[in-house]
Amino acid sequence: MNVKTNISCGTLILALALSPCLFAQEPKPMSEPAKIAVYQTAGAPADPKVPARWNLYHDYAMATELLQHLAKAHPNHVRLQSIGKSIGGREMWVATISNFAQGKEEEKAGMWIDGGIHANEIQATEVVLYTAWYLAEMNGRSPFITKLLNERVFYQLPMMSPDSRDAHMYKPNNTHSPRSGQLPVDDDRDGLLDEDGPDDLDGDGHITQMRIRDPRGTHKPHDDYPELMVRAGADERGTYRLLGTEGIDNDGDGEVNEDGDGFYDPNRDFPWNWQPESVQSGSYRYPLAVPENRLMSEFVLAHPNIAGAQSYHNAAGMILRGPGAKNDKITGSDLAVYDRLGKEGEQLLPGYKYLECATGLYEAHGTEFDWFYGMLGVFGFTNELNTPYNMFGNHEGNFFGNQDTLHFFNKRLLFEDGFIPWHEVDHPKYGKVEVGGMAKNWVRQPASFMLEEECHRNMAFTLYHADQMPKVEIESVTVRPLGDDVQEVTAVIANNKLIPTRTAHDVAKKINPPDHIQITGENLKVLTAFTADNATFDEPTEHARRSSDLRIDTIRRQDPIYVRWLVSGKAPFTVTVRSLKGGMVQRASQEEETKK
């Protein structure tokens, strides 16, 4: 750890800003320039307390160690806890990051960030780890980050499916597996659990493809990239026949690889618009039946201050929001908020598209963002990391590019590190076959040199979102005597952030309790209260009931709340606003205003 070189960015900037004044006061030439311990790269510390590399993938143990180091090095800003164990006995780590010395945690809007629910989408976890590291290390160096940690709290669960993360890394798999968690399921309903998964015939840890030489085959090598198998034309004979994914019929039922890890899709396990397997593939038994998701949901439900949510996935460069189902929709004014956030994301993430899941990608029931929006009243996004646009600056091909661009990239930029060359193995059914294909550590995942940029840009989008979470403010409290000991107290309550204290959907479905606006004071007696959406109190609404602690549906940026109480008592009066997601703020009426 670098203790000596902790000159913060902030101090440096301050020193540089002050230096002309210093020159003016002390005109003698500077003999020795201020000693700069390390040349800082813009945007991230070159001398962090916790050194970290962002061009590699952290397995469960490495990620755990990094998080523990962060908590130890930044005790006032990072707290690490396990919310329980995965079914494989791994800890479900949640890092809570905020300035713990400033404000109460439950009174700060919380940003939920998770990754790796589909564990094969391994860079998702890296973005969350990077964000934790970045927030901790840039606190005190970046005024923006410092303010963010003063005002907000970040809850980060980098590994939603830690067992499958290690399974991807250390058990035979490919870039697409395992999407499921490790809870065994009888996929083929034969009474046996996970008995026929793929088989690593060559023992290299990668599940690739099988081919067999066949003079009357269906496929042949590609002209430019001979490792790539292409279908033979109608007027020619192929030289190979493809035999599918590396594996054998382990359970002797005539089907190959039909009952491997799981299968269930942990991101079809959330309660909003959940549908059973007959409608939604992978949905398993009922919402939150996946043990790791249940632990996560318990944490989220216990932190109702969470006001923003971000999940990371791959691939293809998308900023997705719900709804996942075509028969569902975003309520009223919430859409404009979503659009504003999403469009900002498109700018920060070149090549990414902001899309509605149901209409822009596919129908998906029971996803995380739908649960956050539909049942918790929280704007949630899923970023599909790694756009093929990043390879050569164009959108050719599908989610992962196309075969030509992938193989060209593999040849010229990975120097053929991304492909397992075809080689011969023995197969119990087919005899001598060849296995080979894309390595499991790319296609969906960025190559090493692209990983840090992916982490940083996605984090930047999420921090923008976090900054736009609601924050209540009291802009003024004024008192005007009306005679006969009656006074009129007027407060202007605002939320100058993009996200309202309660979403339109939340208000419509009464998901969270309303915001409270309370008045207190010596000998205070409240006669009644009014609210209006304008300073002149045209068409006010009377709050005859509970008028000293009135309830407001929501506070939106475009609609400040004007509150007026008719009271007797002794000024100053104190106005307190309490919002579950917008925080707590208090303000006393001012003396000179009282005298007016």
């Binding site: 329980g84 079914i87 809870l183 065994p184 009888d186 083929d188 309903r189 034969d190 009474g191 019929d249 359970d251 002797g252 039922d253 005539g254 089907e255 309660p271 909003w272 959940w274 549908q275 059973p276 397997e277 007959s278 409608v279 038994r285 009922y286 919402p287 939150l288 039946a289 043990p291 249940r294 632990l295 949901s297 318990e298 439900l301 028969n327 539909g374 049942m375 479905k509 009464k510 998901i511 969270n512 309790p513 309303p514 009931r545 509970r546 309830r551 579950l580």
Partner: protein
């Protein structure tokens, strides 16, 4: 499986301490009230082992333990509730085995419906008694059932909620002990009902006020009906449940103690944001315990449950729109005829009339069992208030007054009126219930009585109405005979089950040690090997066939085990063949086995022909 671990963690997060003072209170007072309330109705005790009053949790456990002393029974717990009570499972069968097809029989899916759990237990007691009875016919039926099937009985799936029936203060609550913010104001359980007349019963409360929408029934002022502006009627009363506006929000009793309703917590047509439905589907320990038990038992073929959902008397109807939609809301057209036949079979045996309409699907257990669990699901109320015409009541009262001249005189009726159909259809159900109570001499209606009410100064406020659950849980003697009928109906329905047969298995020598093994698998039962919805659910195991070959016999084509398609009832069949190679002179038997966990299995031996 990891269900166990997972439940434990959850339990720790939500469970109340088991010795919560509330429960102690409940136990102390429960017997007292039932003694009082049912003493009115109870005839002299019958010489039977059936209890005189409904069992509270402790009595239920004792009774289950007694039942489980039978060789055919086993008692286990599916898990603990928030209140620390066990969700009991009683397993019945000649050989307790998950290898036999099974029936899941669930009692009080509506927690306050104690009669449902009672009927479930009586079915168990009847079945076990029959199995050792001297009545040969009954014995045969019972033995057959216990031999062929495993019966999983969950008499009281939501025991904390059911236990509220035994609380000192009687309410119609059906919810468990989770604290909830029903009115979404940030406070939990802060506006309960209040016993204004201190009679230990939460009934209704009517307030004389022109701002109300309710009026008195023209024939019986005990019954409130809604004013109809189209009939030029002006409302005269506000109507609420008994209580005060404890939290001063202008609503009465809208955030009562607890909790979640087991029968609103399932995934099918889940009523999002309805207060008693829970934070999400299957959120409660008892709901998860029951659902996980079901999912973990591939052998369950049929779910039979007692509750407000009734497709035995009101069979589900298919609907083309639902068939064509990815979101099924009606029974599939392909399944409807089979349901109808099952229902008809049971109904014939039950021979019951005047079943009230079925309750809604929202989050309910019985429709879940079909739509999301993929099994045949049959459900009905255990009991309902029978129709009592004014004529019959008058007749009965006359008889009674002859028998006991000292008895109170019945309300006078104008001659001829009794025969007329009632002019007013509103409130007819309550009028019938009142006649039934009178006929049965049950003190089940608290007369309206004026009380002082802090929320309505200067207004006339009266408290009164039906005793909570009195129309749900009749004196136990009124369930007499129902257990036998349901058992018989269930046995008849099970006779319609799919049944596998291996027809004309043959091993034919083709020469040179090569053989063709061939068999036809038939379904001789009435039902297909699984419901169409079972197939769609991807939860029901299909039929498999396996050939076990002697040593030195190899397969040239095919694999030892195969998955077979769904076989229709009666006509369904599929042919399976393998090509084998054996060393010349090989002798022996090939074992063929076809099976499905929901149907059971059949085996045949085929000899490898000699010579050639």
């Amino acid at each position: 499986m990891n269900g166990g671990i997972y439940r434990k963690q959850l339990g720790a997060a939500f469970r109340l301490p088991p010795r919560h003072p509330f429960f102690t209170l409940v136990l102390v007072f429960s017997f007292a009230w039932w003694g009082w309330s049912l003493a009115v109705a109870e005839e002299p005790a019958k010489p039977e082992s059936k209890p005189a009053v409904y069992d509270n949790a402790a009595a239920l456990q004792a009774r289950l333990e007694k039942i489980s002393q039978s060789d055919f029974a086993e008692l286990s717990s599916l898990g603990k509730t928030l209140g620390g009570r066990d969700v009991w499972l009683l397993t019945l069968g000649a050989k307790l085995s998950a290898a036999k097809p099974a029936v899941l029989l669930v009692g009080s899916v509506q927690a306050s419906d104690l009669a449902a759990g009672e009927l479930t237990l009586q079915m168990a007691e009847r079945l076990l008694a029959d199995a050792t009875s001297n009545d040969e016919a009954a014995k045969k039926q019972a033995e057959q059932l216990l031999k062929q099937y495993t019966f999983y009985l969950i008499p009281r799936p939501s025991p904390d909620a059911s236990e509220r029936c035994f609380a000192e203060l009687k309410t119609d609550s059906v919810v468990n002990q989770r604290t909830t913010d029903d009115d979404r104001d940030g406070e939990t359980d802060e506006d309960p009902t209040d016993d204004l007349d201190a009679n230990g019963l939460i009934t209704m409360m009517r307030v004389e006020s022109r701002s109300g929408n309710w009026i008195l029934h023209p024939e019986d002022p005990r019954v409130m009906i809604e004013a109809d502006p189209k009939k030029n009627e002006l409302g005269q009363y506000l109507l609420y449940t008994e209580g005060i506006d404890n939290d001063g929000d202008g609503r009465w009793n809208e955030d009562r103690p607890g909790g979640i309703d087991f029968n609103r917590n399932f995934t099918f047509q889940y009523p999002y944001f309805e207060p008693v439905a829970g934070p999400n589907q299957v959120s409660e320990p008892e709901t998860r315990a029951v659902a996980d038990f079901a999912f973990n038992h591939a052998n369950i073929a049929l779910v039979y449950s007692f509750g407000p959902h009734d497709n035995i008397n009101h069979p589900w109807k298919p609907n083309g729109n639902s068939d064509g939609s990815q979101y099924k809301t009606a029974i599939l057209s392909a399944d409807a005829p089979f349901q109808d036949k099952l229902v008809e079979t049971i109904k014939q045996t039950l021979d019951l009339k005047d079943a009230p309409p079925s309750a809604g699907d929202d989050g309910a257990f019985a429709p879940w069992a079909y739509f999301h669990y993929g099994r045949w699901s049959l459900a009905t109320r255990p009991w309902w208030v029978p129709a009592v015409s004014r004529e019959n009541l008058a007749k009965a009262l006359t008889e009674r007054s002859k028998e006991k001249p000292a008895a109170e005189k019945p309300a006078e009726e104008k001659p001829g009126e009794a025969a007329k159909p009632p002019a007013e259809s509103r409130g007819s159900e309550q009028l019938n219930a009142l006649r039934w109570l009178e006929l049965e001499q049950i003190a089940g209606f608290v007369p309206w009585k004026t009380v002082e009410h802090p929320d309505f100064p200067g207004l006339k406020v009266e408290v009164g109405g039906f005793v909570p659950n009195v129309l749900l849980n009749p004196p136990i003697r009124m369930l007499d005979g129902l257990a036998e009928k349901h058992l018989k109906g269930l046995a008849k329905a099970l006779e319609l089950s799919p049944s596998l047969m291996l027809s004309s298995p043959k091993c034919e020598a083709l020469g040179g040690g090569v053989y063709r093994l061939k068999v036809t698998v038939r379904n001789q039962g009435f039902l297909p090997t699984m419901a169409a919805q079972g197939k769609a659910s991807q939860l029901v195991a299909g039929v498999q066939i396996e050939a076990t070959l002697p040593k030195d016999v190899k397969l040239i084509t095919g694999t030892p085990r195969k998955h077979l398609p769904v076989l229709a009832g009666k006509t369904g069949s599929t042919e399976v063949s393998w090509i084998l190679q054996a060393k010349s002179g090989t002798e022996g038997q090939i074992k063929l086995k076809a099976w499905s966990p929901t149907i059971g299995g059949v085996e045949e031996q085929v000899a490898i022909p000699k010579g050639k």
